[in-house]
């Protein structure tokens, strides 16, 4: 079985510049998204995700500019997320050269937009990002309409969050994932808001829960801190790809060593 697992660095971009204090000593322009893209391509990244956090009315224009530049300088696939809310947004970004678009809050607000985009461009170009937060309950009866996971002597379910993980929707992430699959989404990117930034590892229950329920390719995100965490995303989380930001940006782990480590532990990687 040839199923190559992917390592995906994620870059936060604001007004066309990479943000979040990324330290690349040998890059003259520390904020140039194209330079970062090229650096990661060289390192062996299988795909890139650009998350646009620009919050101005000129947003679409700046994103399209960014996408054009990246498409010009990078020869591996890349996805763009952040504020995409309509077919027109998706058209502009895919037309500028992005391979995939990723929708998050807008999909929760207006689910049919997923169907519009996937019908127009194909499922393989539409990712639904799901921010999930763990909600613990003592007994099964306390959340009988939710997909529950047994964690020690407790249970938990995954609450879909919006607005960068700040607003709870009360929606069950597993059920939401199944719904977006029905709407034509080809890939799911669950980010653990419980573990994001902790470096304690991915939320493997959520990752696996969504992968097994939907049978779609799933990209684990949020919480990676070690090589072991990345490996577990594949072995335990059943993910198709592992996404990380700071551990790659701060060079705590290089993509090369990450891929070597996974390959050594039996995961099929593009080396």
């Amino acid at each position: 079985m040839t199923d190559y697992k992917k390592i995906v660095p994620c870059l936060d971009v604001k007004n066309g510049r990479v943000v979040k204090g990324i330290q690349f000593v040998n890059l003259r322009d520390a904020g140039d998204p194209v330079k970062f893209g090229q650096y990661y391509e060289e390192e062996g990244a299988d795909e890139l995700v650009f998350l646009d956090i620009t919050a101005t009315v000129e947003k679409r224009k700046t994103v399209v500019e960014l996408v054009k530049k990246v498409a010009d300088g990078v020869s591996i696939p890349f996805a763009v997320g952040g504020g995409i809310s309509s077919l027109e947004d998706a058209q502009a970004i895919l037309g500028a050269g992005a391979d995939k678009v990723s929708l998050n809050s807008a999909a929760v607000r207006n689910p049919p937009v997923l169907e519009e985009i996937s019908k127009e461009f194909g499922s393989e170009r539409v990712i639904c990002a799901i921010d999930g937060n763990r909600v613990y309950v003592d007994s099964e009866e306390n959340a009988s309409d939710k997909t529950l996971f047994k964690i020690g002597d407790k249970y938990c379910w995954f609450d879909v969050m919006t607005h960068s993980g700040t607003k709870s929707t009360g929606m069950d992430a597993i059920q939401w994932a199944l719904k977006v699959k029905e709407l034509g989404v080809g890939e799911i990117l669950p980010t653990s808001k419980t573990y994001d930034g902790t470096k304690d590892g991915y939320d493997l229950e959520m990752t696996r829960g969504i992968a097994e329920a939907t049978k779609l390719p799933v990209t684990a995100s949020g919480g990676a801190g070690t090589l072991q965490h990345i490996l577990e995303a594949f072995t335990i989380g059943k993910a198709s790809a592992a996404l990380a930001a700071s551990i790659f940006h701060f060079r705590e782990i290089s993509i090369k060593e990450c891929k070597k480590y996974c390959a050594k532990n039996g995961i099929t990687m593009r080396l």
Partner: protein, 209 residues
């Protein structure tokens, strides 16, 4: 005349990424549906993303089918990419049955879901070179990785048209095919990092000969 590659524009997907890939190699190319541009080019690329039937419909509407046949007759190198590879074959069963350009004998069929893990195949996969001497593969190590996005694959009738094989699930299929001045890949060289770029470079070198 300046050396020029034509990328056929028939409103089916990612033309710009190929254009930009060539630009990196300092090769002028033109994205065009104008028969003159295509007939006068030193090499032609037939890209494509989307459904087979729609693609053939667009090619017919733009009267491009006889143009493509003509360039092949003229001996101009032709490079089919992804759906562009499939279109070169005789017929496809994607959403009904559709006739293709029939420039390389063979059928286009869907991955049998019982033999593969997921359809479409989206991601990197390796290519086993059957004809390592082929001009397209020069300077590229055998079993290199390329980027694929597809649900259908080509089954050429003649084995000698198979240049590279890829295994997906339990299926071995032809990911690179060739016949005379025609070459075609199921994967996207323009999304396959340095080995993909090298492939376009090899194609351009061949066009220059």
């Amino acid at each position: 005349m300046v050396f020029n590659i034509a990328i056929i524009d028939y409103e089916m997907g990612n033309l710009k990424s190929i254009y930009k890939c060539l630009k990196h190699l300092n090769i002028e190319s033109i994205i065009s549906d104008d028969s003159k541009n295509i007939l006068n080019a030193d090499g032609v690329i037939l890209p494509g993303v989307g459904a087979f039937g729609d693609a053939m419909k667009h090619l017919k509407q733009k009267n491009l089918v006889p143009i493509i046949e003509q360039i092949v007759k003229n001996g101009t190198p032709l490079f089919g990419v992804c759906l562009g590879q499939q279109l070169l074959c005789s017929k496809s069963t994607e959403m009904g049955e559709h006739d293709g350009l029939d420039l390389i004998k063979g059928d286009v069929v869907k991955f049998d879901i019982s033999k593969v893990d997921k359809v479409p195949q989206i991601g990197w996969n390796s290519v086993n070179f059957i004809d390592e001497e082929h001009f397209l593969l020069q300077g590229i190590p055998n079993n290199s990785y390329f980027y694929f996005v597809h649900s259908f694959y080509v089954v050429p009738k003649n084995k000698e048209n198979v240049i590279g094989l890829t295994q997906y699930g339990d299926i071995d299929y032809s990911s690179i095919i060739s016949k005379d001045n025609i070459i075609a890949t199921q994967f996207h060289p323009e999304k396959s990092s340095k080995h993909g770029i090298k492939m376009y470079e090899n194609f351009v070198d061949f066009c220059k000969k």
